[in-house]
Structure formats: structure tokens, C-alpha cells
């Protein structure tokens, strides 16, 4: 606690991210030059669930079993949603199904962060929502306020009481991150353990982080390569190029796309209008009309 600190740096403490009150980008709020972001091409996504399984493998997600699944207590950080076209007679299947991999959107102005009573979920300097398991007391307010409902609560003590990894399955657990006990919230971290290593390695080598340094587990697995991940602040990264070419701007809640070309682009963000400034851009699924 430091009142002198407060008075000296008052203007600094009034920075907001990603935009200030007038809608002007306020990057000074960021102490780092990294902003992790993702883009997912729904036209390439086949809905095969490999990303989801990869997430189980990478992030020590417990298998909850049929009974708990039936109570909606599944722990898949990455869920693949399947939608149908809707017609007069119910669902139409003539153009297939639509798949949407949905995980934490790592919002810039995340609704979950402000409501946590203990500050267990915060914005990191590389633009993620962090979730501090040790700090979490399980009020579940973050999940209540998440518009995407991508936060998953440990309703049970999976590692111990529920024996989610009966020996020797427990030897598969990734030692780069912890298993979570009952009563804490968890969610997609954009494979924090991987991005963190990548940042450190790049720092050691004295260079900025590149695309080749890090892949998230889902991106790495995706058989169709639908997922792109990288540093949005690095104009050389694939993800930055995609966002730019799709005219999707992180700091806008309504994308002002170029009038002529813009409506022929397919980048969008889910529930953007709620102004959480999500870090995941989706590319619309395309369907041929000629057949």
C-alpha cells in the first residue's frame, strides 16, 4: 500500500485497456509488446474434436464420466459446438453442420476479471486472462458473468477423491502445469506453459517471439490447420496478418470494414457487441451456392 505511489502515478493508474473512454487505443496500459491472439477458420474446421482431446492431454483435464457429464460438469476447456441450419421444418442438414470450437476468448475487457472478489483472474501483460488456481476461492462469479460460458469449475476433487487418473494413467499428467483440486475455476489458458517458455526462450536469445516459437496444443493437433495462434502485436505473425487482412481490429466493438471489400471478408468475433474485445477471431464458414 502506498499513497505516495498513488499520487505520483495517478495518471498511469487511470489507463484502461484496450481503449480509453473515448475509444482511442491505450496501449500504454500494456507493459509488454506481446498480445496473444488466435484465429480459427471455420471453413477449414472439420469438427473432428482433435483439438479438444489434445487439450485434455496437454492441460491435465479430468475425465468426469457419464454421470457427471450428464449433470453438465464436463471439464473440456475446448468444446466443439455443432449447429444446424434452421429451416421451417426444424433443422436442415443439406449443407452439413456448422462446427465452432469454443474456448476462453481471452477477452481484452473481460467480464470475468472485474467480478472476482479475490483477484484470482487478472489480465496479464501479454493480454490473457490468467486464472490463479491458488488464489481462487470458488465464488464462481467469473463464470456467472462470462457470456461464452467457457469457464469450468472443479465440482469435485478429481485428482484424489474421484480418482480421475487411476494409476498408472496419472503418469501421463503434464508436469508443466498443476492438476486442480475441487473448488477452483479453470479455463483455457492459451497453453500458458507453452507461451511462457516461448517468451523466456526468446528473451534469453534477445529477440522477439516468432510464430515458430510456440503453438498451442489445439493448434498443433488440428488436422486441418484451422487454428492460427501468435502475437498480434508482431506484424509478421500469421495471426496479425489474418486479423489485418480480415479488417478485424482488436480494439473495436463494431468492426468498420472497408465498404467495398469489407463485406466480402469473413472475419468476425463472437458476441463482439457485448464489448469484451475477445482475442479470438473466427472466419466464417463458406458454403457453395452452386450445388
Amino acid at each position: 500500500m502506498s499513497v505516495s505511489n498513488l499520487l505520483e502515478n495517478w495518471s498511469k493508474f487511470r489507463h484502461t485497456h484496450p481503449v480509453d473512454d473515448k475509444g482511442i487505443p491505450d496501449w500504454e496500459a500494456y507493459p509488454s509488446d506481446i498480445k496473444w491472439a488466435m484465429s480459427i477458420d471455420l471453413d477449414a474446421c472439420t469438427g473432428c474434436n482433435a483439438c479438444s482431446v489434445a487439450c485434455y492431454a496437454e492441460n491435465n483435464l479430468p475425465v468426469v464420466g457419464k454421470d457427471k457429464y450428464s449433470h453438465g460438469q464436463a471439464m473440456h476447456w475446448m468444446r466443439v459446438e455443432r449447429y444446424w441450419d434452421e429451416g421451417d421444418n426444424g433443422f436442415q442438414a443439406e449443407q452439413g453442420a456448422r462446427f465452432l470450437p469454443m474456448m476462453c476468448q481471452q477477452c481484452e475487457a473481460a467480464p470475468c476479471e472485474t467480478v472476482c472478489p479475490v483477484g484470482a483472474t487478472n489480465h496479464t501483460e501479454d493480454g490473457l486472462n490468467s486464472q490463479i488456481y491458488n488464489r481462487c476461492i470458488g465464488s464462481r462469479y467469473c463464470s456467472a458473468n462470462c457470456p461464452y460460458k467457457v469457464r469450468y469449475f472443479n465440482w469435485y476433487n478429481y485428482p484424489e477423491q474421484e480418482n480421475a487418473w487411476p494409476a498408472p494413467l496419472n503418469q501421463q499428467l503434464n508436469p508443466d502445469l498443476t492438476v486442480r483440486t475441487k473448488g477452483v475455476m479453470e479455463k483455457c489458458t492459451f497453453c500458458k506453459q507453452r507461451t511462457y517458455t516461448a517468451r523466456n526462450n526468446a528473451k534469453t536469445e534477445g529477440r522477439p517471439v516468432q510464430d515458430s516459437d510456440v503453438q498451442t496444443a489445439c493448434q498443433e493437433a488440428c488436422p486441418a490447420g484451422a487454428i492460427t495462434f501468435g502475437n498480434l502485436h508482431n506484424p509478421e505473425s500469421q495471426v496479425a496478418k489474418q486479423w489485418q487482412s480480415q479488417q478485424v481490429d482488436l480494439i473495436k466493438d463494431i468492426q468498420e470494414k472497408d465498404e467495398k471489400e469489407g463485406n466480402r471478408l469473413r472475419g468476425y468475433r463472437v458476441l463482439e457487441e457485448l464489448r469484451p474485445y475477445p482475442s479470438v477471431m473466427y472466419l466464417e464458414r463458406v458454403r457453395e451456392s452452386a450445388v
Binding site: 449433470h71 453438465g72 457470456p147 477452483v184
Partner: protein
């Protein structure tokens, strides 16, 4: 209609009657204590199981992370409002009929706040780490998140609880002194001696007492309003459809007063019988309370309609969907039951004959409370089951028996605390009833004198 408090009742009689309640209530008292203990132990059993196994046994799920615990939390917070808030308002307005009933109403406040606090504990996934929410200085300079409405809640409730306890306590000091003077043995003597702080009723004490009591009452009114506004902020400050409603704070405050008044009626009737307070908790007082409750019921109904209307006429399709879901979806029976209990049943209180009919009012007050409990559930649950994201909709979430058990147990806990309190601290304020009787008889005398003078003037002619 029954008689009001006799003005010529001897003050010593008041002491005697009230002190008797500390010693020999009706048998029903023990029945209530026993049942409450039983109900409470059911809740305790459920909580032990839930604590050991995990929150999953409550049958909450991932979109539906809050359940009856939060609903009951709001309910109990709401219930707390009438006691202290009404007591303070009526005190400022010099409404003397408050005097025989305010003590138990304030006790109700305190204990329902304690019950609400119980739900915080029950709700948390990691109760054992709850101290993280306290702003204690730590080596790492980690603080709770002061932006979270839950933290405001904690702060507001702490303030409210401690202020209410102080208000209740300060107001009881003269009565505790009476107890001290009249009970001469055992732990009670020691307790009353300790609590009475050596009160002697000197002019200096009374003088400071009056100002203090008035000041706290003044603080309590905005505080109580802020408390339930902040509880409403838990919802209104969120981004969820059905919660993000501007009118929530006044709506919550009205709902709180409403359920509190209903609870006062319920407890009024119970205490009146159990402790043989027929002389003090008179039917005219009941009638006044009932009328007040009716007025608040109408305010609540109005605010309810405002909420629906503002959703209905807005362009927020998502919020509209939630409203439609409430009225037609799986929660519809409960939602309509809430409307019925909250907005239709109170009309029974318009019937003059029923206003002082104890069985009818008892039933009505219970129904009102049920309606208000349902209201809280209908605020919490449908938004989870029908939020922004259709994929995660979950219309069939039904609380498990464990969850119901804990909610059930909380009523036992409240009753237990309340009934034990009433057996230790006089639940009718003796000194204030004396004041009331005194002032009324003074007023009567004045009136009579005026009449006599008038007669004398007439006679002189």
C-alpha cells in the same frame, strides 16, 4: 378487532410479563426449538457431505454455477431489511406502535444476516480460503479485488451486520439492566450484569443514549438501502441478460422490505403465542404492520412490472428471451407461483376482517415469504439456464437433495438462533413499552384536561 395496549397497565406488570418470557414460555417453544434443531442438523449433515465431496453434489453445473445458495442468500439478506430499517424509520417518525415489536424485528435482522452469511460459506468452492477476500496486508501486496460487487457485498454486509448488532444492543441496554436487577442467580445474572454495562438510567446516560440511538438510526437507513442495492449490483453490474437491469437496486430493496415485513408478521404471530405477549403485541399493531406490508407489496409489484416492461420494450432480444423463458419455460410454474404469491396473495390483506385474523395472516405471511423466496430463485436461475450463449443453455437444472437440504437447514438455523435469543434477551422492549404507555396516557390526560377546560368554559357561561 382486539384491544390495544392498556394505558393503565402498571409498569411493574410490564416488567413481570416480559421477564416471564425469559423463563416460562409455552410448550410450543420447546417444540419449535426441537424441530429447528432437527432441521438444522439436516442442513449441517448435507453441508459436511458437500464440503468433503465437492460442490458437485449440489448438482450445479458449468453454465449453472449459482443455485439456491445465492438465491437463499439474497432472501435472507432481504429478510434482514425490515427489522432494522423499519425500526429506524419508524423511530425517526416517532411511530410509537413500533415499540413493542422492534426488538424482535431487529433480532430478526441480525439473525437473518447471520443466516445469509452461512450461505456465503456454503456457496464457496473453497471455504477454507475465504480469508483471501479480506483486505489484510500480505508480504506480496496482494489485495482482494475491490472492483468486485461481491467484495462490496462483503463490506456492506459486514457494516450492516455490525451496525445492526450495535443498534440492537444499544437499544437493549436499559432492558438488560432490568434483567440484571430482577434475575439474581446463575449465568444469566453474570451475563446481564456484563451486558448492561452498569446502566443505571441516570439522566446523563439517557441523554447520550437518545442522541446515539437517533444517530445510528439515521445511519442505518441509507446503509440498509445501500446493502440491498449492492446485493442487487451482484446482478445488475454483471453483463448477463435478465440481470443487467437498471431498476434492480430499488427492486431489490422493495423486495427486501416486502419479505422482511412478511417475516415480521409471521414471527409476530409466533412470539405472541409462544411467549404470551397478547397484551403487548396487540392486534392493532398487527393491523398497522399488515397495512404497511400491503403498501410495500404494491411497490414491489409495481417495480416488478417496471422491470418486465423495460425488458419488453427494449431492443435487448436476449433479455427478452430470458423473460419469455421465465414465463413459459421449465421455470414457469415457479415464476407464476412467485407472481401469485407476491402480487395476488397480498390482496387478502386488503380485507379488513382478515387484517387482524391471526390464522389468515399467518398463512398469508408464509405465502408472501414463499413468493419472495421464489422471486430470488427466479432472478438467479433462469439467467444461467438461458444466457447469451445458446449452446450452453440448460433448462433442466434441478437442485439436488443436498442443495435443498442445506437451504432447508438454514431455516432451522435461523429459528434456532432467533428463539434462543428471545429466551435470553427480552423480545419486547420493556422500557419503550413503558414510554409508549406513558406518552399515550399523558396525551390522553392532556386531552381530558382540554375537554374539562372546555366544559369549564362552557359552564362559566
Amino acid at each position: 378487532m382486539g384491544k390495544d395496549i392498556r394505558e393503565d397497565i402498571a409498569w411493574a406488570q410490564i416488567n413481570k410479563d416480559v421477564l416471564k418470557s425469559l423463563e416460562s414460555p409455552r410448550k410450543l417453544y420447546w417444540v419449535i426449538i426441537f424441530v429447528a434443531l432437527l432441521v438444522f442438523s439436516v442442513g449441517v449433515g448435507c453441508e459436511i457431505y458437500q464440503y468433503n465431496t465437492g460442490m458437485g453434489v449440489a448438482n450445479m453445473d458449468n453454465p449453472h454455477v449459482w443455485g439456491l445458495y445465492i438465491a437463499s442468500f439474497i432472501f435472507w439478506i432481504g429478510m434482514s431489511h425490515s427489522g432494522t430499517l423499519l425500526s429506524a424509520i419508524l423511530h425517526l417518525m416517532h411511530a410509537d406502535w413500533r415499540k413493542p415489536i422492534y426488538r424482535f424485528a431487529e433480532a430478526m435482522t441480525t439473525f437473518s444476516l447471520l443466516t445469509a452469511g452461512l450461505f456465503v460459506a456454503v456457496h464457496l468452492g473453497r471455504l477454507w480460503q475465504v480469508y483471501y477476500a479480506l483486505p489484510y496486508p500480505s508480504e506480496r501486496w496482494i489485495w482482494p479485488n475491490f472492483q468486485s460487487p461481491l467484495l462490496w457485498d462483503a463490506m456492506a454486509i459486514f457494516t450492516y451486520l455490525s451496525s445492526s448488532i450495535l443498534f440492537l444492543y444499544i437499544g437493549s441496554i436499559p432492558d438488560l439492566a432490568i434483567c440484571r436487577d430482577n434475575i439474581h442467580q446463575g449465568w444469566r445474572k453474570k451475563l446481564y450484569t456484563l451486558l448492561a454495562l452498569g446502566w443505571e438510567g441516570t439522566d446523563r446516560q439517557w441523554r447520550n443514549f437518545r442522541v446515539t440511538y437517533l444517530t445510528i438510526a439515521c445511519f442505518l437507513i441509507p446503509l440498509a438501502v445501500s446493502v440491498h442495492s449492492i446485493v442487487a449490483s451482484d446482478f445488475a453490474m454483471s453483463q448477463q441478460p435478465g440481470w443487467h437491469v437498471t431498476s434492480f437496486p430499488p427492486y431489490f430493496v422493495a423486495g427486501a422490505l416486502y419479505s422482511g415485513c412478511a417475516a415480521i408478521i409471521t414471527l409476530f404471530i409466533i412470539l405472541r403465542y409462544v411467549f404470551r405477549f397478547e397484551e403487548y403485541m396487540t392486534l392493532p399493531i398487527l393491523k398497522k404492520t399488515v397495512r404497511l406490508t400491503f403498501a410495500i407489496a404494491m411497490v414491489w409489484t409495481y417495480l416488478n412490472c417496471i422491470e418486465f416492461a423495460s425488458v419488453w420494450y427494449s431492443h435487448d432480444q436476449v433479455a427478452k428471451d430470458v423473460l419469455i423463458q421465465k414465463a413459459t419455460g421449465t421455470y414457469a410454474p415457479f415464476w407464476w407461483a412467485m407472481i401469485f404469491c407476491g402480487s395476488v396473495v397480498p390482496f387478502a390483506m386488503m380485507v379488513k376482517k382478515w387484517q387482524t385474523n391471526i390464522p389468515v395472516m399467518f398463512a398469508v405471511s408464509l405465502l408472501l415469504n414463499l413468493g419472495m423466496w421464489l422471486e430470488r430463485w427466479m432472478i438467479v436461475a433462469p439467467t444461467f439456464s438461458h444466457g447469451y450463449y445458446p449452446w450452453t443453455w440448460d433448462h433442466d437444472q434441478w437442485p439436488s437433495l443436498i442443495q435443498w437440504g442445506i437451504v432447508f437447514g438454514s431455516f432451522g438455523w435461523f429459528t434456532l438462533l432467533f428463539m434462543v435469543f428471545c429466551k435470553i434477551v427480552p423480545s419486547v422492549s420493556m422500557y419503550e413499552v413503558k414510554e409508549m404507555v406513558y406518552h399515550r396516557s399523558q396525551a390522553r390526560k392532556k386531552e381530558e384536561r382540554a375537554v374539562q377546560e372546555e366544559l369549564a368554559v362552557k359552564g362559566a357561561h
